[in-house]
């Protein structure tokens, strides 16, 4: 039987907060002040953007210099399909720009009407962003330039009032999550309030939830086995600290439950009994709530407790 594989949107967002060293702090703060700083290497060349260590000798660098806002394109690439994430939302050129008087190139974007207006060797200048915070995007983009050469690099202390020392860099990636064959079958059964695992063809253990492989034998699991719905508490703990946003009164009990026929225990909340009366070996069954896709909690069945030997391998 082929089942349509489940898929759902998954967004990963991570606003990294990063501290800056003296070189990066001076460069990014400089951009905020419309001042482009480079760093002088051991050999006397000037790098923009400035590196903290000499790419040739690995020596620590600290001599900052102020450089021109104009420069020359050393290579370029035309992007006809802007995605919205780079700084320009219309077709533009990616460029490496060597600012006048420097010996390395800065990666940025060039605002140009068409690829016919762009060439290696063309002269460009910085267009500053209106709002600047101390980031590489304080340079809005480069634009074509036909004026005079920029001034030669001159020493700069790299000191600014209210220097930027920490930057927060947001990032977001959008995925379509698909759990694969085994977990799709598990989730589809769960939607029907059934719990389905998969049996290992070699060791016969039934995995719940199944992940498609037996980690002991290293072979695919395929035979689907319905387990439960009743099970046995193999171990538990009493939760005394209320989790943020969780609408459950403390203390409550969280336990490992071996569903009948399963080769390993899964976990769930145990309720319908005072917290201090929950015990290992207690027989439980799931309680489903309307609209929930997994059991809300497990409650005692009233059956006699299971003998320890029947679940000792699952503790």
């Amino acid at each position: 039987m082929t089942t349509e594989i489940l898929a759902a949107p998954l967004v990963v967002e991570f606003p990294f907060t990063r501290s800056l060293g003296p070189v990066q702090s001076a460069f990014l703060t400089g951009l905020r002040e419309r001042t482009v700083l480079g760093v002088r290497t051991t050999a006397g060349t000037v790098l923009v953007p400035p590196t903290e260590y000499d790419p040739a000798t690995a020596a620590e660098l600290h001599e900052m210099v102020q450089v021109a806002e104009v420069g020359t394109v050393t290579t370029w690439a035309w992007n006809p399909h802007p995605t919205g994430k780079p700084p320009l939302d219309r077709p533009f050129a990616w460029v490496l720009v060597r600012l006048d008087g420097t010996d390395s190139a800065l990666l940025h974007v060039l605002d140009a009407p068409s690829p016919d207006a762009v060439s290696t060797g063309m002269r460009v200048r910085i267009r500053w962003a209106e709002t600047r915070t101390g980031a590489i995007t304080d340079i809005a983009c480069f634009e074509p330039y036909d004026g005079a050469a920029g001034p030669a690099p001159r020493d700069h202390a790299g000191d600014f009032a209210d220097a930027v020392s920490v930057v927060t860099l947001p990032a977001r990636l959008d995925y379509t999550y698909s759990p694969g064959r085994a977990q799709t079958a598990y989730l589809r059964a769960l939607a029907e309030r059934r719990t389905v695992g998969e049996r290992c063809p070699e060791c016969a253990k039934v995995y719940v939830p199944p992940r498609g492989a037996c980690p002991t034998c290293g072979v695919p699991t395929g035979e689907r086995v319905e387990v439960g719905p009743k099970g046995t508490v193999t171990t538990f703990c009493i939760v005394n600290i209320k989790a943020k946003g969780l609408d459950i009164e403390v203390p409550y009990v969280y336990g490992h439950i071996a569903l009948d026929g399963a080769g390993l225990a899964l976990h769930g909340r145990i309720a319908g009994i005072p917290y201090d009366q929950v015990r290992m070996g207690m027989r439980v069954e799931p309680v489903w709530k309307e609209g929930q896709r997994w059991p809300d909690h497990y409650r005692p069945t009233g059956e006699p407790d299971a003998d320890y030997d029947t679940y000792r391998e699952l503790v």
């Binding site: 990014l28 085994a182 072979v219």
Partner: protein, 346 residues
């Protein structure tokens, strides 16, 4: 120093979208293939090393799930690199040299289909100066291609020739994702066209390494690793000469690639223009068979495509089609980091 060889290689079919299988489900048939080829079980292995990257599918610690496919209980000696499997192979090679293990399983896998690979790869860039601009992988390769054009080292016609040769050769590769007559298409980021770019897809690969006589027991014609080394460029793109790859040349020199000519080279060039850069850096002459498998332009499963270059070169030696082959793997923007191995048959 002990001699270490590749004694088995396997790979999945590489496909644009593998949503019907989880990562471990994709990987398991490949692991079984290589273990069966040498009649070994997980418990017989001295070491297991893998390469993968959580950013591709957006799943934290996905490699721990993948380990289920190995059969890691009782515990195995295991390691993982957040890199292409070629670097996992390097770690396993070092482990075998120490004498602590005689055999190793190396595997890697990548599922790019859940995300937007071009965007995902921007997250590996310098987070202060570069990543906030979201320069995608094709854009950075296009800057390199234009630099090659400006230097007179290639043009669009030359690149189209690399694309056509690769996909023609891939016609004989049952695992390839792109083969035969593939149109060059429109510019993705000019000067690179669709046909200049490796296909984006999902796949897995595995090899078995063995040392000395153990290798001879397991395989009729082991592919001996005569040398292997990896080197990296300065991380600021703007200080590099993008038309050259000094790190590849240095790694090749340290691996002994220039001591005698090779007859085969499996180059990990995800863009046609990068094959030009690598050929120049490695001083490959026209009589060397370059990427007879079709190379990364035929299938480029992230984190596995480099390991596949080593595996394809080894497989060619095992079947007697090569006596001395060079295998190359790359990682990062514009050939940032490069690994070179020299493989020989006896």
């Amino acid at each position: 120093m002990r001699d270490v060889a590749i004694v088995a290689f396997g790979q999945s079919d590489h496909v644009p979208d593998s949503r019907e299988v989880s990562e471990v489900e994709m990987l398991m048939p490949v692991l079984k293939e290589v273990l069966d080829a040498v009649s070994l079980k997980t418990a017989d292995l001295g070491f297991v090393c893998s390469g993968s990257c959580d950013y591709l599918a957006g799943r934290a610690f996905s490699f721990t799930m993948a380990l289920d496919g190995v059969g890691a209980w009782p515990p195995v000696a295991e390691s993982h690199v957040e890199m292409d499997g070629a670097w996992a192979l390097y770690e396993a090679w070092v482990k075998l040299l120490t004498g602590e293990a005689d055999t190793a399983l190396v595997y890697s896998y990548g599922k790019s289909s859940p995300g937007d690979l071009r965007e995902v790869l921007t997250r590996q860039l310098d987070p202060y100066y570069v990543a906030p601009l979201w320069p995608d992988s094709v854009a950075l390769a296009a800057l390199q291609a234009q630099a090659l054009f400006d230097a007179g080292a290639a043009d669009e016609r030359v690149l189209a020739g690399v694309a056509a040769r690769s996909r023609t050769d891939a016609a004989a590769n049952p695992h390839a994702q792109l083969r035969g007559d593939v149109p060059m298409g429109d510019h993705v980021v000019a000067p690179l066209r669709r046909g200049d770019c490796a296909p984006i897809g999902d796949g897995a690969a595995a090899v078995i390494l063995a040392a000395g006589d153990r290798a001879r027991e397991l395989c009729e014609r082991p592919a001996w690793i005569r040398g292997i080394d990896h080197r990296i460029e300065a991380h600021a793109l703007g200080v590099r000469d993008l038309t050259d790859s000094p790190s590849t040349r240095l790694a090749a020199e340290r691996a002994g690639a220039f001591e005698r000519p090779v007859d085969t080279a499996e180059l990990h060039a995800p863009f046609t223009s990068q094959e030009i850069v690598l050929r120049r850096a490695l001083r490959l002459t026209d009589d060397v068979a370059v990427n007879p498998s079709g190379g990364a332009l035929a299938a480029n499963p992230m984190m596995a495509a480099g390991l596949i270059r080593l595996g394809e070169a080894a497989a060619r030696i095992q079947r007697g089609a090569s006596d001395r082959a060079l295998a190359h793997a790359t990682s990062g923007p514009c050939l940032q980091q490069n690994l070179v191995a020299v493989l020989e048959g006896e």
